[in-house]
C-alpha cells in the first residue's frame, strides 16, 4: 500500500528533486552552468553560450574555418562552456591539435557594472590541462 502511494504521489516529484539536487551539486563543485541539467537555474546568470574560451591567452575562434570544422569546434566549445570537465577540455584540446605538454584554459564570463552601464568580462574558470 505504501509503495503504491509512493508511486502515485511521490515518485515523480522525488525524481525531480534528486535531479535538481544533483545539478546544484555539479554547479557548485564542478562549474557546470546553472542553465542546464534540470535544476531550474535559468536567468540566474548570463547564458553560458556568451562566455569566452581562451587557450594560452588566445581566443578560441571559429572564424576562417570551413563550415564543418566551424560547427564541430562550436559544439566542443559550447560543451566546455556548459560543463568544463576534464573530459570536455580534453576533447577540445585534442580537436585543436595543440602540440604542447600543458595548456592554459580560461573561461571568461560577461560582467556588468550596472551603476555605470559598463559591460566587461571576468574570469569564470581557469585550469592547466596536461596532455598525456
Amino acid at each position: 500500500m505504501k509503495r503504491k502511494k509512493f508511486i502515485q504521489y511521490w515518485s515523480v516529484p522525488t525524481l525531480l528533486f534528486l535531479v535538481a539536487c544533483f545539478q546544484i551539486y555539479q554547479v557548485e563543485f564542478e562549474e557546470k552552468s546553472r542553465w542546464k541539467g534540470g535544476g531550474f537555474g535559468m536567468y540566474t546568470t548570463i547564458h553560458p553560450f556568451n562566455d569566452e574560451i581562451w587557450i594560452d591567452d588566445e581566443f578560441v575562434s571559429t572564424k576562417n574555418l570551413s563550415k564543418r570544422d566551424s560547427l564541430e569546434l562550436q559544439i566542443l566549445t559550447l560543451k566546455v562552456k556548459v560543463h568544463p570537465s576534464k573530459h570536455q577540455i580534453k576533447n577540445l584540446v585534442n580537436w585543436l591539435d595543440i602540440e604542447k605538454d600543458s595548456v592554459k584554459i580560461q573561461i571568461f564570463k560577461p560582467q556588468f557594472d550596472l551603476e555605470n552601464s559598463v559591460y566587461t568580462k571576468t574570469l569564470r574558470y581557469e585550469t592547466t590541462y596536461k596532455q598525456d
Partner: protein, 283 residues
C-alpha cells in the same frame, strides 16, 4: 462563454491534459533538433485519430517516453529544464494510465508538488548567485532588449539602442583580459539600471508568492495572482515553451470540476501554443 467553460469542464482531466501535452510536444519537437522525434510524434498524433482513448494506454506513454530518452542521453549537456519537465510529465501520464480511477487526485497532488519544487529551486538558485541579485544576469538581457520586449520594443529609438548595445557586447571577445576591456552601453532611459535591479527582486518575490498562492483557499485570489504571474512572464520574457507546460500543470492542479480557472489556463496555453507556431518566444 458559460457554455464554452462548461464544455471544457466536461472533458475528463486526463484527456484534456494529455491532448494538450501531445499538441505541445508535436509543435515543440521540430525545435529539439532531433528530427526523428518530429516524425514519431506525428505518427503518435495519427494514432490519436484512430484511438480516441490513446491517453489511457500505458504503452502509448512508454513509446512517447522512449522518443525522448535518446536525446537525453546524446545531448545531456545541452538539455535545459524544459526537457526535464517534459519527461516528468510523461512519467506522470504513465503512472496515471496505471491508476486511472484516481486520475484527478494523482494529477492534482503531483502537479502541486512539481510546481512548488520548480519555483522553489528557481528561488534557491537565484539566492545562491550574487550575479542575479546585483542585476548582472538580467542587465545583459535588459540592455540588449531581450526582456521587456513587448513593453519597449514598439519604440523605434529604444530598438536602435538595444541593437547598438547588442553589437557592442558581441565585440568584447576581441580584447584580452590584460587590456581590461570595457564597453560603455547606453541605457534606454535614465533609471534603467535601477529598473533592472527592482525587476530582479520583483521576479524573486513573485516566484515565492507563486508557491504561497498554490495553497491559498480563496480561489479568485489564488488563480488571479497565478494568471497575472503567467501573463507577466509572457510579456517580459516570452517564455512560451515553459509557460505552456506550466499551464498544463496548473490545469492538473485544479482538482474540482466546473471551474472557470481551468478554462483560463487552457486559454493561456492556446495563446502560448499559437505564439510558438508563429515563431514567437523562447523555448
Amino acid at each position: 462563454m458559460k457554455q464554452l467553460i462548461n464544455r471544457i469542464n466536461q472533458i475528463p482531466i486526463f484527456k484534456l491534459v494529455a491532448t494538450c501535452f501531445l499538441l505541445f510536444l508535436a509543435i515543440y519537437s521540430p525545435r529539439l533538433k532531433a528530427i526523428y522525434v518530429t516524425y514519431l510524434v506525428f505518427a503518435a498524433l495519427a494514432y490519436v485519430i484512430i484511438d480516441r482513448d490513446f491517453f489511457k494506454k500505458t504503452y502509448f506513454w512508454l513509446i512517447v517516453l522512449g522518443l525522448l530518452i535518446p536525446r537525453l542521453y546524446a545531448s545531456f549537456l545541452f538539455i535545459g529544464n524544459h526537457y526535464f519537465v517534459m519527461i516528468y510529465m510523461i512519467l506522470l501520464f504513465l503512472i496515471v494510465s496505471f491508476y486511472q480511477d484516481n486520475a484527478e487526485k494523482i494529477f492534482s497532488r503531483n502537479a502541486t508538488v512539481i510546481l512548488v519544487l520548480i519555483m522553489g529551486f528557481a528561488v534557491l538558485q537565484k539566492l545562491l548567485v550574487p550575479d542575479y541579485l546585483n542585476g548582472t544576469s538580467l542587465a545583459y538581457l535588459g540592455y540588449s532588449g531581450k526582456i521587456f520586449k513587448y513593453v519597449f520594443y514598439f519604440n523605434e529609438e529604444y530598438r536602435d539602442i538595444f541593437y547598438e548595445n547588442a553589437v557592442k557586447m558581441s565585440e568584447l571577445y576581441k580584447y584580452p583580459i590584460s587590456e581590461n576591456p570595457r564597453v560603455q552601453l547606453e541605457p534606454i532611459f535614465k533609471n534603467f539600471p535601477q529598473v533592472i535591479i527592482w525587476f530582479s527582486y520583483l521576479t524573486l518575490i513573485a516566484e515565492i508568492l507563486f508557491i504561497v498562492a498554490l495553497f491559498i483557499k480563496k480561489q479568485w485570489i489564488k488563480h488571479g495572482f497565478i494568471i497575472f504571474f503567467l501573463l507577466s512572464l509572457l510579456v517580459t520574457r516570452e517564455e512560451t515553451g515553459f509557460l505552456s507546460m506550466l499551464c498544463i500543470l496548473l490545469m492538473m492542479h485544479i482538482e474540482k470540476q466546473n471551474t472557470l480557472y481551468r478554462a483560463a489556463y487552457l486559454g493561456i496555453f492556446i495563446l502560448c501554443l499559437s505564439l510558438i507556431i508563429v515563431g514567437k518566444g523562447e523555448l
